[in-house]
Amino acid sequence: MSGHIVSPKLYYGIFAALLVLTAATTGAARFDLGPMNVVIALAIAGCKALLVALFFMHVRYSKPLVWVAAASGLLWLAIMLALTLTDYYSREWFPAPRGW
C-alpha cells in the first residue's frame, strides 16, 4: 500500500500548533493595527490551512499529481479573485457613459 503512515505524535503536535495559532489570531484581532489586522488574520489562517493540508491531508507525503491538483485549485481561485477584484478596483476610474 502506498499510503504514508504518519506518527500520531506528529498529529498531536500539529493540533497543538493549530490551537496556538487560533489563540494568536483571536488575540491579535483585539488590537487596532489598521490594515495590518486583515493581513495578520489571513496570514495565520493561511498557515493553519497549510498545516492541515500538508500533514492531516498528507499532501506532504503525496505523489506529484496530488500536488498539481491542489495547486491548480489555488491557481484558479487566484485567477477568479484577481480578475474580479481588479474590475471592482478600477471601475470608478472611468465613469460609465450615462443614458443607456
Partner: protein, 220 residues
C-alpha cells in the same frame, strides 16, 4: 503490505485496477479533483464577501461585533479536534486497529455534532436579536442599511459550511458501520482516507471563515 491474493479475495481490489497502489492513487486524486471544485464553490462566496467588505469596511466591522468571539474560538478548537481524531482514525485504519478506528470515527462525528450544536445556539441567538435577513431583520436605531449584507454572507457561508458538515457526519456514519464489520485494514482503507480529506477540507473552510466573520470588529 499484505498478500495481494488475500486482498483480492476480500474484494478490496476492484477489477478495473492493476493493483491496490494504483487504486489508492486513483481514489486520492479523484477526491482532490472534487475538492478543487469545492475550493471554487466556497471561493465564489469569499469573493463576494471581499467585494462587499471592501465597499463597506466599517459597517462590516460593526456588524461583526454581534458575533461572540469566544464562542467562535471555542468552536474552532472543537472542529480542529475533530480533524485530529479524523487523522488518527486514518492512522488506525492504516495499522489495522478496528476498534480504535470505529471509536475515532465516532469521536469525529461527536465533535462535529458539538460544533453544529453550538452553531445552532448561535443561529438561535441571532434570531432572538432580529438579525436574520429575509426572515426577521430589525435595524437598531442609526444602523446603516448595508448591515444586512454582512448577515446575509454570515448565514449563507456558515450555512453552506454546516451543510457540508452534516453530509460529512453522514459519510462518517457509513464508514464507521463498514469499519465495524471489518471492511478496512492496512491493505485497504481508501474510503476512510478520502472521507478524511473531505472532512479536513471543510475544516480549512472554517479556518478562513472564523477570522473573516468573527474577528473583524474585535478591536472596536
Amino acid at each position: 503490505m499484505s498478500d495481494p491474493r488475500v486482498s483480492e479475495a476480500r474484494g478490496a481490489l476492484a477489477h478495473h485496477f492493476d493493483d491496490l497502489e494504483q487504486q489508492h492513487d486513483a481514489a486520492t486524486l479523484g477526491m482532490w479533483v472534487f475538492l478543487v471544485t469545492e475550493i471554487m464553490f466556497f471561493g465564489g462566496l469569499f469573493l463576494g464577501y471581499t467585494v462587499y467588505r471592501w465597499k463597506y469596511p466599517h459597517i462590516f466591522a460593526d456588524a461583526s461585533r454581534h458575533l461572540d468571539t469566544t464562542i467562535g474560538a471555542v468552536n474552532t478548537a472543537v472542529l480542529l479536534a475533530s480533524s485530529l481524531t479524523m487523522a488518527l482514525a486514518v492512522h488506525a485504519a492504516q495499522t489495522s486497529r478496528r476498534r480504535a478506528l470505529v471509536g475515532l470515527l465516532l469521536a469525529t462525528m461527536l465533535l462535529g455534532s458539538v460544533f453544529l450544536g453550538v452553531k445552532a445556539y448561535e443561529y438561535r441567538d441571532k434570531y432572538v436579536h432580529h438579525l436574520v435577513p429575509g426572515v426577521d431583520f430589525v435595524y437598531e436605531p442609526g444602523a446603516r442599511p448595508q448591515l444586512q449584507i454582512f448577515f446575509l454572507f454570515y448565514f449563507f457561508m456558515t450555512g453552506m459550511h454546516a451543510l457540508h458538515m452534516v453530509i460529512g457526519i453522514g459519510l462518517l456514519g457509513v464508514i464507521a458501520a463498514l469499519a465495524w464489520r471489518g471492511r478496512y485494514g492496512a491493505d485497504y482503507y481508501n474510503p476512510v482516507e478520502v472521507t478524511g480529506l473531505y472532512w479536513h477540507f471543510v475544516d480549512i473552510v472554517w479556518i478562513f471563515l472564523f477570522p473573516l466573520l468573527y474577528l473583524i470588529g474585535a478591536h472596536l
